[in-house]
Symmetry: none
Subunit: 194 residues, 4 copies
Amino acid sequence: MTGHAAPGRKRSDAARRAILDATFRLLEQEGFDRLSIEGVASLAGVGKTTIYRWWPGKGVLAVEAFLDAVAPAIAFPSTASARADLLSQMRLLAEIYRGPTGRFVREMIGAGQSDPDMREAFIEGFLAPRREAAREVFRRGQANGEFRPGLDPDVAIDSVYGAIYYRLLVSSGSIDDGFVEELGKTALNGIALH
Amino acid sequence: MTGHAAPGRKRSDAARRAILDATFRLLEQEGFDRLSIEGVASLAGVGKTTIYRWWPGKGVLAVEAFLDAVAPAIAFPSTASARADLLSQMRLLAEIYRGPTGRFVREMIGAGQSDPDMREAFIEGFLAPRREAAREVFRRGQANGEFRPGLDPDVAIDSVYGAIYYRLLVSSGSIDDGFVEELGKTALNGIALH
Amino acid sequence: MTGHAAPGRKRSDAARRAILDATFRLLEQEGFDRLSIEGVASLAGVGKTTIYRWWPGKGVLAVEAFLDAVAPAIAFPSTASARADLLSQMRLLAEIYRGPTGRFVREMIGAGQSDPDMREAFIEGFLAPRREAAREVFRRGQANGEFRPGLDPDVAIDSVYGAIYYRLLVSSGSIDDGFVEELGKTALNGIALH
Amino acid sequence: MTGHAAPGRKRSDAARRAILDATFRLLEQEGFDRLSIEGVASLAGVGKTTIYRWWPGKGVLAVEAFLDAVAPAIAFPSTASARADLLSQMRLLAEIYRGPTGRFVREMIGAGQSDPDMREAFIEGFLAPRREAAREVFRRGQANGEFRPGLDPDVAIDSVYGAIYYRLLVSSGSIDDGFVEELGKTALNGIALH
DNA sequence: GACTAAGCGAGACGGTACGTCTTGTCTTCAC
DNA sequence: GTGAAGACAAGACGTACCGTCTCGCTTAGTC
């Protein structure tokens, strides 16, 4: 036990809320690149110090605002067939990434390349849980004999989801239903003929 | 035809060289994020105007400096077996991305998410040629019966290379030899038992 | 009498002491300009509120800390001759102002120009008593026939001490013994030949 | 000869004017203490950098704006009698210091106590020329036998003008005509009966 | 040989945002 | 009710770059 209660004024939840809301609004309207701490403070009616007190920079702040506003949703269904579950996860992800969330994810992975804290926060808060759900499906598929037993789950997941993120970030190809079906066939059945 | 030669002083190749060299030096030492036109101009002993005259911004400038300094190398071998060629391409890419080039590629794909010109320049100048080489191998594999005939080459390539870029950009997993071998098996043979 | 004893906790003398001591330490080390309530609170181990509860601002606080630490000393001697007493007051003041106290006085008169409370506090606490002592000597000199009877004491004092403060605040000339002797001659005997 | 003309864009006189004018306006309306570089930049429609490029800080800037706006005026008359000239200088100074200029001078001497550059600039630009004029009168007075020959001019001037500045800065006494006349008598004829 | 472009270095300019500092107020808990 | 702790809104600090705009100076054709 630490024993003593912390002295001093409590953190203001109103300020926290105002900051996250303002951040998300600006993220939506201007994009991450044009987001500024100054802008957030001004829109939230908050001192800059208050932001710097609780967040290390605009990267992590943006991630938290995004998670706060968007993440709650998005849960994966689970049925008897691992193969079907995997495909339905892929379809859901593709659908989401075609919408506004896709832009946020692009921007956050992008900006994360030069902001380790942000990268960490985004992986931890957004990608890791989804990856864990996928890994779960994959393990189930191996257990019930649907998937090859010898494969490394992480590599298999990279192969399936990597393709989606690659399209999102790099390739100009769209992430439409056709692509997802095709990817399902390719990844599940393999490229080599025999 | 315009017919007439343009009047006025010719573009200085010395300035061009100095700018590209300075840009690459700063890119190496400071990273893309901390790169600034001001810094390049100062290090190159060049006016800022000269940079803005020929490049639209630091994004495209960095891409050109990178291509100028690094890209010339990196060519893929070609043998009788498409499968072997694909694996050797993957191994080569993995090796390169483990080294300093990996950081440049990460930074450029990252920054490209909020700079369309840069994204375009990087894809055009760096990724597209490599993708074309991979597509070539894939088509050969389909032609000589090594690879499944029905597959969309682009999707197949996304599945293989997407996994590598996913590791580079997002996952904390390293892109070591074991990963590449495993990825080869997974992607070529498929995930589903059949 | 209000009858009732004041309720609540008594003012902490320890806090008062810690605040005045910390203020004076910072005044010595950093100068008035760089003094901050924040710094005082931190060095004294005291909440800012406690300072604001008892002092209107850093100006008055600094004056009180200065008076608390320095003022007790400095008393003027008194002999039979008003002329001698006046000169000895001038010499004493000059000596003090050549030392560290000179800097405090400079800073306080300076800062007082944009802080009326501080100005008031410094005059009341430091300058007025000394001026009164001088006025006393002057009156004695008029009474015993050493000084001209018609003169306004305040103007006479301004003429003598004003010169010293002028040197302190404005002129780059030093306030050395030679200056004081010369000033004595000039002020006492006058500038005009007859 | 340096030979080469300075390269680069010339300093903008429009910006210089706008800055000085804005500074003086704010100085008048808000006082030196509440003057801020930010405020000047905003009112002048100028980047902060432009101010920092040419002035070391708000102190020196304020002095220059003051000199630019106010100083041109104020010249001393010169007649046959040094005594009369001295008195007329004193009266003129007193009159000016009773007006708005008095506040500027108070603030500048005050702030100069913690800003050496500003102090230097104000003495150099404002006080020194006036002191030189006074010294000139005094020397003339000594030369033509009006004033005591043995006196140090600087000390004599300190004694006369010091009293005025002392009233301005410290004493609450007003600098009215009565005071000036009285000061004239006291300083010129001396305090001691003799 | 003069004229007319355009390129070039230098660097001033109006801005935006940075991350820090301090102000004076408010809130909480301990005494 | 006092006091230590510390959060809060506000706003200025001085710095770094942005992208644009003069400058005066080289080049190169074109007349």
